[in-house]
Symmetry: C2
Subunit: 385 residues, 2 copies
């Protein structure tokens, strides 16, 4: 993958092992983005006022082909946080309703549910799923201990943020559906790290980032809503589409309500097809396999060195290009600071319950030497009994 | 102003007299914007994860100096539509409450209020203010005919969209305050077209675009909330700031709640100081005077040719760089189409009640010949009795 590195714009002096937080956009996709921005400035009224609906339709269609979803069921949004806020506000929770989630969720999404629950009197329940995990069935059974007749919604990350755990969301959504429970999936880290199929995933509402593992410019994400559920969805930003006319409608009430949210550039959205094309042109299926191989090596070496057990079997489907390795007890703030300043390694260190992790992302621009740089830093700085 | 034209990026083949819809960004400001975007891609985690709060603080401070507001009372938002949605959701309307507005408002903002009123049982009342206008007092008295004991909010545009009318918002906010009525001002078209002073404006909540008359990149706007009102403001997108910690707080609950709304580029926001600098470097006070002079000529010539009365006195403070001229009865769709294809003029034609207007924007890149191009098109195409 050495030659891929030159296609990205990352500071070559930093060992960048944190693709997971904000992604990184390759130069060729960034050039497409800038050319959309220039096209906008060439004639803003033509671009935003007349051409945009058709341009967005084309981009949604290409994204839909990539995610196996109809362009009618898919809108662009700025990020997954925006998606969870739409979902939480649209589901009409009542006093006593329960939203069930895991204890592996992203804090900002938790807050969005807590905000809505504080308004409605519903409860937001973090069902514990302890690590290590060894099977999908274990996760599902642990989660289901929290299901009761008040469970109206199951909200879960497809790949969790603090623990980088690929949840068996397909099986969970299916079981939820059979019980009349609405499934809402945060796929912030999903698309790009693996090939997503929204039909077989089966969530009622699924949102995910394009600017993360799909390599699109910042501020591009999607919201998918199953057609049967679309009628309950309310826009976060009410604008013209609230009362579309025969002249202005896109043909879909859902798209009308969600797509136009006031003046903005929309150019990150329009660059998503180029990001998809970039992955295809660069054989991303093979890149992913190679990244996963490097990542396994990293986890294995860290576990072996510190004599700690991994959080999931190393040959499992529980992680793809992002995984956590356990760390011994150590001052994380100090370690983080020294890793960056002395070893030039950008990687998140995470405290989760009483455990400490390093969360490693391996992307196409990384190489064996990056992983070695991290391991060198960790092993030199952390005292090992 | 001829030399200013080369600093913008607009298609030279189009007579662009519609700055009002989406603005236009000068090349030098656009270059700054792109350099922020590149800096982000150089090290996304450093930029978005560590440097951003300080960078945004500096940008808010410079915007605050320009608008005469504390950086603590000011956050960046993507656009004015986003602002009205925050305001409408934050004001706790109850059944029977009235939100009073004029019949000159922007449709998307009307919809945002209608959406909230449909949820709360409040009513949204469009008080008619007929044209022509000749004094602030006339507008205020017409508006006040709609005030009654149920009036909880007055919502008004500073400069209206369909009629380009500069409302006497300072006097209206003052009178509202004395009666305990909350004033919410949509300054989408205000800042840049004139020097705004948020203190003397006196609105409780004021939002406005930076990407319109302030020349910043698309997706940059501000929300100002008077300190006494900030405690009622709810974020549209709940994220990390909902539970900020001593380590993560900006020091202001309002800023914490509103500033971070999930991953996005923030680069349009960070370019706002450069847009302010661009106006200062290019003597925007003089540019505005010259634009207003050209605009008056245009309105006067159109009125004279068609033997119609202007909607406001031509030497008045009711318009700045954007104004409407009345048109005779004519098929607007056909006229609009021919103006663009045959005369290369981009200008909005507006139907408002039973009147028809051309809304002319004059910006620093326009010249006398642009105005002549418009007048040529109108006078050649519209039959005149």
């Amino acid at each position: 993958m050495e030659n891929l590195k030159s296609l990205f714009q990352l500071n070559p002096e930093i060992i960048f092992l944190n693709h997971g937080s904000f992604g990184a956009t390759p130069g060729p996709v960034f050039e497409v983005y800038k050319s959309w921005l220039s096209r906008l400035e060439n004639q803003p009224v033509l671009f935003l006022g007349r051409e945009l609906p058709e341009l967005l339709f084309t981009a949604r269609k290409k994204l839909g082909l990539y995610l196996n979803a109809s362009s009618e069921d898919l809108v662009f949004i700025p990020n997954s946080t925006y998606g969870v806020n739409i979902a939480a506000r649209s589901i009409k929770l009542a006093h006593g309703d329960q939203v069930l989630t895991s204890d592996h969720e992203y804090g900002a999404c938790d807050y969005s549910w807590e905000f809505i629950c504080s308004k409605t009197g519903a409860t937001y329940v973090h069902q514990p799923i302890s690590l290590p995990v060894s099977s999908d069935e274990y996760i599902i059974e642990e989660l289901w201990k929290g299901v009761n007749p008040n469970t109206k919604v199951i909200f879960l990350s497809m790949i969790t943020s603090p623990t980088a755990l690929r949840m068996p969301v397909e099986k969970i959504c299916k079981r939820a559906r059979s019980l009349g429970i609405i499934s809402i999936i945060d796929a912030a880290h999903g698309p790009g790290q693996e090939q997503i199929d929204l039909q077989s995933l089966g969530g009622d509402i699924v949102f995910g980032n394009c600017h993360k593992w799909m390599l699109a410019p910042k501020g591009s994400a999607f919201l998918f809503v199953r057609p049967e559920i679309q009628k309950i969805i309310e826009p976060l930003v009410v604008s013209w589409g609230y009362k579309s006319t025969p002249q202005t409608t896109t043909g879909s009430r859902f798209i009308d309500l969600m797509q136009w949210t006031g003046t903005n550039e929309h150019c990150a959205y329009l660059s998503v097809p180029s990001a998809i094309q970039f992955m295809q042109d660069n054989h991303w299926d093979s890149v992913r396999v190679e990244c996963n191989r490097l990542l396994r090596i990293a986890i294995e070496e860290i576990c072996t060195h510190f004599d700690l057990e991994p959080l999931y079997p190393l040959d499992s489907h529980f992680f793809k290009q992002m995984a956590v390795a356990p760390l011994p007890e150590v001052n994380l703030d100090e370690l983080k600071n020294r890793l960056y300043t002395e070893y030039k390694v950008e990687v998140p260190l995470i405290k989760w319950h009483n455990k400490q992790f390093v969360r490693i992302s391996v992307q196409g621009y990384n190489s064996r030497s990056d992983v070695e740089g991290l391991i060198k830093g960790l092993t030199e700085m952390i005292p090992h009994k």
